[in-house]
């Protein structure tokens, strides 16, 4: 069954029929790093030549290690700060060319949820004022309407307004802070919500609650997401499509189902293999297979393919020729930037993610009699 059919089955509109909500083209963002004594230390290409689309109502998961540029990419999209070059079309408008005033208007429809739950909220404000902030900043709503809406929003994210309205961030938990940040993000009924590691600092149980909240909001409000995380498991729930970033570049992008089942880029494979897993039925663990080598410095990326220093498949060509994103020929927009991509799955073979049992030295305890 093709992914398009699966999409149809889930009630989603086929991708090619829809207008892209966000189109990012050849985005570049570089930083100058200061060395000792304020001397120029080098240039970091935090985001280099990144292009992707987000359809309306779609969730795009974006994963990568520390220093892959995923957070910089998020900030570049909302133009805070503006990236060096490229195009960011949001609802047909190129944000890169908009004046400050027009940009403010365009940002109405794109909101962000950040990693640090406490830092996301002004510690001196009451929760109701925090949620009302975008309503005041962007709208001319009457105070009474605003109060009603704030109550509804708090309720929507699972916080009883009669209890939480007047509280301040220090009086609630990290998970609740994140709910307030979400309420603020959806207050203006945006089209796109960018979540930058939005659940990474939460405890597992609370993380699951917040992930579910994101999913429910997607269904109810037809939100689109750019969902950034450092591991593939976290973005699984929200992702229709998946983009994997490595050292400022997108190395693989495509339908999430396909990439999780059969990644074509060795880096994606390595990321998948690094997630410690546990089969909930049998209690068997899937032990991670470590990737060898150190991540290269973003100040001095390797020539050619930036992953080649850690890649088990690297050959001479990888050091000289930089691979570009190329269609895999699956016909569903799956693209990979690799000279020697992994083989597509053989339908007759077993699924790619076989649960691996623990090493043999644990055999005695692995066999509860």
């Amino acid at each position: 069954m093709s992914t398009v059919e699966q999409d149809l089955e889930r009630g989603n509109v086929p991708v090619f029929d829809r207008e892209p909500l966000l189109q990012v083209r050849n985005l570049d963002h570089t930083f100058t790093v200061k060395g000792a004594g304020g001397v120029k230390g080098g240039t970091v290409h935090a985001v280099s030549n990144v292009s992707f689309d987000i359809m309306s109502g779609e969730g795009l998961g974006l994963v990568g290690e520390t220093g892959s540029g995923k957070s910089t990419l998020a900030r570049s999209i909302i133009q805070a700060p503006r990236p060096q070059s490229g195009e960011v079309h949001f609802r047909g408008q190129d944000l890169m060319r908009l004046s400050r005033r027009m940009l403010k208007r365009a940002r109405r429809d794109m909101q962000m949820v950040y990693q640090d739950p406490f830092g996301s909220l002004n510690p001196k404000w009451r929760l109701e004022d925090i949620v009302a902030e975008p309503l005041i900043g962007h709208d001319t709503m009457s105070g009474r309407d605003r109060d009603v809406l704030v109550g509804e929003l708090l309720d929507r994210v699972g916080l009883d307004p009669s209890i939480y309205r007047k509280r301040r961030p220090m009086e609630i938990s990290g998970g609740q802070c994140q709910r307030v940040a979400i309420a603020r993000a959806i207050a203006l009924n945006p089209a796109l919500v960018i979540c930058d590691e939005a659940v990474s600092s939460l405890d597992v149980l609370i993380r699951a609650q917040v992930l579910n909240l994101f999913e429910e909001l997607r269904r109810d409000l037809k939100l689109s997401y750019l969902f950034i995380a450092h591991d593939l498991a976290t973005v699984k729930q929200i992702s229709d499509r998946l983009a994997v970033m490595h050292l400022g570049q997108v190395c693989e992008i495509g339908p999430a189902n396909r990439i999780y089942e059969a990644p074509r880029h060795p880096y994606t494979r390595a990321l998948l293999d690094s997630v410690p897993g546990l089969d909930q039925e049998t209690g068997r663990a899937r032990r991670p297979v470590p990737l060898q080598g150190e991540p290269p410095s973003p100040l001095d990326p390797p020539s050619g393919c930036r992953f080649r220093t850690r890649c088990p498949r690297a050959q001479e060509k990888c050091a000289t020729v930089e691979p570009v994103l190329t269609d895999t020929g699956d016909g569903d927009g799956h693209q990979v930037a690799c000279h020697f991509p992994l083989d597509p799955p053989d339908p007759s073979a077993a699924p790619a993610t076989v649960p691996r049992t623990r090493s043999t030295r644990d055999a005695p305890s692995a066999d509860p009699s």
Binding site: E215, L271, G277, G283, S365
Partner: protein, 357 residues
């Protein structure tokens, strides 16, 4: 009878297994216990309030085994480890016992404790960036650790330091020896921290969220290293983590903590293959899986983590538990219900009659 046999067999097969003990009732499997913790209690007082961070924690850890202690923030997993290391602030009151060999770790004066830190028990922390002194070359920091426990000539200490860096598989150890922490990646810094922890050949190594701040790829590397070192040096490892998948992948035994108490314990596969405590079940269910289709809601339990200043009477998980009854107002003891598998719950999962046991 059959059951008894199984118990014995299981006991002798897994002579090196960690076993918890409840309140004094000992059912310790004879074996080479390196670390014995019994009835460990930690409270913090201040402002007229008492926080019960750890309540009656008991377990035993055998040579060469890995015990994972898992739980959320405030479960007491980290505090209990710091209590063993004597690293709690003065506002903490610690009682109970923790023995490594003949050494009692609890209640030791600071000077005595300093001697045991490193030789008996060593710890690797979450944040390698903040655990290293940024103004000192890493070589010096390792030498300091080496010479803290052994009188040694400088040249000898340098050699030992480089040997330790080689042991933790730091690339180009001779060069790195003369570098500063900021010149190393997060993973390399954590390797250095492990080298420092191993400087005096500890019997027990506590890894307190040692890989939580690292990328998944680096995390797998560091975990492999830890396990390899454990095998080679014969240490016992206590793995403290909030990541249930990580614990399941690397630990021999798992201890689940909630609100300062041990609520479930057993050999890893036995425990996860047959989860009894609803809290463990909730933890397990809340982990996003790579295999579930997108847009599937995760099974979640409502509520917030417990407020340690005002715990409910009885089972601390009661307010969030779907199968809680009036009986749960009495605290269930951690008991060995099945051979090797301990839990503290009146209504374990799969107990269909929902009644008393």
């Amino acid at each position: 009878m059959n059951l008894n046999q199984t118990v014995n067999q299981a006991g002798s097969d897994r002579a090196t297994e960690a076993v918890p003990r409840t309140g004094g009732a000992t059912s310790v499997v004879p074996g080479e216990a390196v670390l014995t913790v019994s009835d460990l209690r930690v409270t913090f007082t201040g402002g007229g309030r008492t926080v019960h961070a750890v309540t009656g924690l008991s377990y035993q850890l055998q040579k060469g085994r890995t015990l994972a202690i898992i739980g959320e923030s405030g479960s007491g997993k980290s505090v209990s480890a710091r209590a063993l290391m004597g690293l709690l602030p003065p506002s903490a009151q610690v009682s109970g016992s923790a023995r490594i060999g003949d050494d009692e770790l609890i209640g030791l004066p600071d000077r005595e404790m300093r001697k045991l830190r490193g030789t008996d028990v060593a710890m690797v922390f979450q944040d390698p960036a903040r655990s290293l002194n940024p103004t000192m070359k890493i070589g010096l920091q390792i030498i300091e650790a080496v010479r803290a426990h052994q009188k040694m000539e400088r040249q000898q200490a340098v050699e030992r330091g480089i040997e330790l860096l080689r042991l933790v598989r730091l690339p180009a150890p001779e060069r790195r020896f003369h570098e500063y922490p900021h010149q190393l990646s997060g993973g390399m810094r954590q390797r250095v921290m492990i080298a420092i922890a191993l400087a005096a050949d500890p019997q027990v190594l506590i890894a307190d969220e040692a890989t939580s701040a690292l990328d998944v790829t680096t995390q797998a590397q560091i975990m492999e290293l830890l396990l390899d070192l454990q095998e080679r040096l014969g240490m016992a490892v206590v793995l403290i983590s909030h990541d249930i998948g990580l614990a399941a992948s690397y630990a021999d035994d798992v201890l689940v903590m909630y609100a300062g108490r041990a609520v479930e314990f057993g050999p890893t596969e036995m425990l996860f293959g047959n989860v009894q405590m609803p809290y463990t079940q909730a933890l397990l269910g809340s982990v996003p899986q790579l295999t579930t289709p997108p847009h599937t809601l995760l099974p979640v339990i409502p509520g917030q983590p417990p407020d340690l200043r005002a715990l409910p009477q009885g089972c601390p998980f009661r307010p969030r538990c779907a199968s809680a009854t009036e009986q749960c107002a009495n605290t269930p003891e951690l008991t060995e219900h099945q051979p090797g598998h301990w839990w503290a719950c009146w209504h374990p999962i799969g107990d269909s009659d929902g009644g008393t046991k």
